[in-house]
Symmetry: D2
């Protein structure tokens, strides 16, 4: 698996129709378009996929729709983290049945005070034992639960844990994770530091902005791997402001504005996420126009 966990993956948004329901045709069409680029695959049902706003059957429809458009040469990664161990295992099994190549599992965070290292290790081990496909750990410190080196190092020994996504601008941790062993693939989830993350040993990235600028993100990855410092730094600086707009600043609403502008059919966000005001939308679409090929 780790040889395929390389390069750039977009965490795809979930398309909704005008009734607010899942639009599976749009999802398949969007993924087809992304898969015509040099992206290494897609992540469906990640944070950018509004996974926490979908019910279980909707989640399954999204995966089935994405699977139709991801060729076997590329990876379909499915977000399957839930608050309970039991529901996470169930979602991982269903994802594997629907053709996911790997599952990405965020840590439970509702009872964060009880999420000791021992509880986290136990949770992920049970999921990795039960999942028919390889598991990727998902470190998302914004939830208030942080996977630290002892936890990740313990879990990286499990034969069914293939790597992780580290979503943070904080690279000290990522550097430690990437040094655990060569076969443990660390993917960065923070576009403004993707170039330096690769310098520290990251295998690639799962980046919201890669939905918008797939080829430029792959170019950046390749410059970084090839040691073309000046080109990598220039491209990093070029994409960073837009990456912030479609992620940390405006979130999924920003991402959907950018994608709608490019002709993707994604629909609005589901509440409680709000639509963006006109002036913000204009700022985003101008930034897209300035960067698209």
């Amino acid at each position: 698996m780790h040889a395929r966990l390389r390069g750039i993956f977009p965490p795809i948004p979930t398309s909704f129709d005008s009734s607010g329901d899942i639009d599976t045709h749009a999802i398949t069409a969007n993924v087809t378009r992304w898969m015509s680029t040099r992206l290494s695959g897609v992540l469906a049902l990640g944070s950018n996929g509004e996974a926490s706003l979908l019910d279980e059957s909707e989640s399954d429809y999204v995966l089935a729709a994405a699977r139709q458009a991801v060729p076997s040469s590329k990876l379909l990664i499915a977000g399957t983290g839930r608050e309970s161990t039991r529901a996470t295992i169930d979602a991982s099994r269903r994802a594997a049945d629907l053709g996911a190549d790997a599952v990405l599992v965020r840590p439970p965070a509702y009872y964060k005070n009880q999420m000791t290292n021992a509880a986290l290790i136990d949770h992920f081990k049970r999921v990795a034992d039960a999942s028919p496909v390889p598991v990727l750990l998902y470190n998302l410190p914004a939830t208030g639960v942080v996977l630290t080196l002892p936890v990740v190092a313990a879990l990286a020994k499990h034969p069914n844990v293939a790597g992780m996504k580290e979503t943070s601008p904080e690279l000290e941790r990522l550097g430690q994770f990437a040094a655990i062993r060569p076969e443990f693939a660390v993917l960065s989830g923070w576009a403004p530091v993707i170039y330096p993350a690769i310098g520290l040993g990251a295998a690639g990235g799962i980046l919201a902005v890669a939905n918008v600028l797939p080829d430029r993100c792959v170019d950046l990855y390749e410059h970084a791997r090839a040691g073309r410092h000046d080109q990598a730094l220039a491209l990093q600086r070029a994409i960073t402001p837009l990456a912030q707009m479609v992620s940390s600043i405006h979130g999924i609403a920003g991402l959907k504005v950018a994608l709608t502008h490019l002709g993707f059919s994604v629909g609005p966000c589901r509440g409680p996420l709000q639509a963006l005001p006109e002036t913000v939308r204009t700022t985003i679409t101008r930034a897209v126009d300035a960067l698209k090929n």
Copy 2:
């Protein structure tokens, strides 16, 4: 409604059987026992009810089981907060159908950076518009999303918002909420400050320790309301260490140890929550023995 939102309510745990499934008979039996005391009702499907670890149909079974044992003179409050507005509305309607007298709605927290005051007000307004029964706001700062005075004051004007639960040791906010208007009932969710919270105008409390020591908690509430300072302070100090053990320190696992010791059938916690070590269990049961009537 606000005349009934007074006094002490236990946030009841969800009973599991040896297979890890919901034990509805146990729930009904437990609630019957709690309702034989001076408690004002119960909260089912709160944080202490492991609500985030249940699926939708399990949630319904819990409510139906509790409803059987709550007399019409007391209140059945149901936790119905979900991450999406749509799912929260759906859960609130089902709870009303199952006989809940009111719903308690925590704010969405997964996309916490996007949870502006405007987004929170919009979310709760839509839920209050759609819910067949009165809505209680649930402030739980530990999630990373805080309902502040402007949000609560705006929502308190809605005819279907009856009050709130404030779960924090921080009483400046609670004092502001309690001063909004007399008909807006503020219930404290933090037992170690329940006496001073009543001094600041709280209408009562929803307290994990009230599952364990129902009459003592009601005594404390009544001492506080009657201005019996010395007795209230003494009782506050007496229950605080156990209240911490079954809540902030050991969480639901601690609560279930205490209740099992008293003969309630609650079963273990669902993963990722972990069982407690023997020494901790002994500390808790001794504290229970020292305080029970």
Copy 3:
């Protein structure tokens, strides 16, 4: 000492003249005016005294000026916390020489990661051993260092530690501290919760708003002690908005606006603290006018 650590103390601001230097005559005049009320004494060189913006000799001038106007029946408390143990001891000795009745010592916070419980206990013990006058601990969680129950309980045994100031809206900790032993006096530093703090066993308060409304603050303290709940709650609610303006919201600049309006000579704040805009100043002075006797 503990019998005198009762009631309300204002943390007095430091007066500056038009050159930005200490105005000792103004300080003496202001303290004379405060001491004509029912306040129990004053705190000089606290956070509200801009202590961290003064040099060592300026600190001495402030104390000497205050001492002249505090009668022996009331207490002069001096803030003497510094980042190093050595400088804290030196400042405490000088304060005692200048006539301070007690010293209030905040924990070092610059190297907060190294401020383990052991380091904090060692620091305060050395200071208490060396100080010629009783020491009050100063818990100010906003600095990033929190004195927790084990630390305070250990230090409360020291014969030269007389009590503490707890500056936080969080009353669970205050309740624990107040229960340590009757002779250990806990003063609250958070006016919006002073009534419930007294309910939990606080001996009184050190409150910025007591500079502005000394008699109303003393009234509130006395209502609370006498169990006059309705009057205490009404007065708590009346003073809270102004208390927030001259403390958590606008800080010392807000306090100096209110005091200047009442005819105290306090001058501007020292940089980096900034003057407030006209509209804010007007809001504050109107709130003062509405509340002053």
Copy 4:
């Protein structure tokens, strides 16, 4: 100036003698030894120099002692940040008089709630206007005050602001600062990310571990600048564990253990900083032995 703000600088510790007083001879001797390497200069009176634990005259002695040993081809940078604008200006003028080539100014943090962007800009502008030598901004988010892009971009226009130190594992901000303009030098203060920081445009680093391993740190800097990725990554990984021990984990006490082991005369830390237990000291000295040339 910016042409000289390149490469690696150690933030030197302050040497104390057995009485706990400043040992100026030891400081001069230590700096002489560091200056015999390829380091670009030194920072005296930084956080690692226990600057907040020294009085004003001690600070001057440290600078005078360091100046004697820093050749004119290298830089002596002096930490001169104080809580008040007035004291910061005074310290900066004295540092310039004592021969400092530049001053490094941390933001005031005691009144962190009042440290708005406007207050921070005003503070640093006044200091830059008054300082006879160039000013470097010091971003130290651990203090609770963060210099964000708008503040740094505004200050970078001042002719007497030459650059900054960014002390954080968080590289998104550093990348933005480094892109402001080529003449604005950004030095990283976080050794575990120094290689990727250079990738993002940092001009070098001010690193505690550079006191211990000066040549290896300079090698890492040079590999990074020359695009020798494999060597840079290997060296980054080699030094990171020791860098953590002498900085984020054990702080200055850890640094002093390592330096004492190498024959530098630094003495103990000043209280409230504590000595380390024997087992920790052994871990540190073994790590030093494994890495020293």
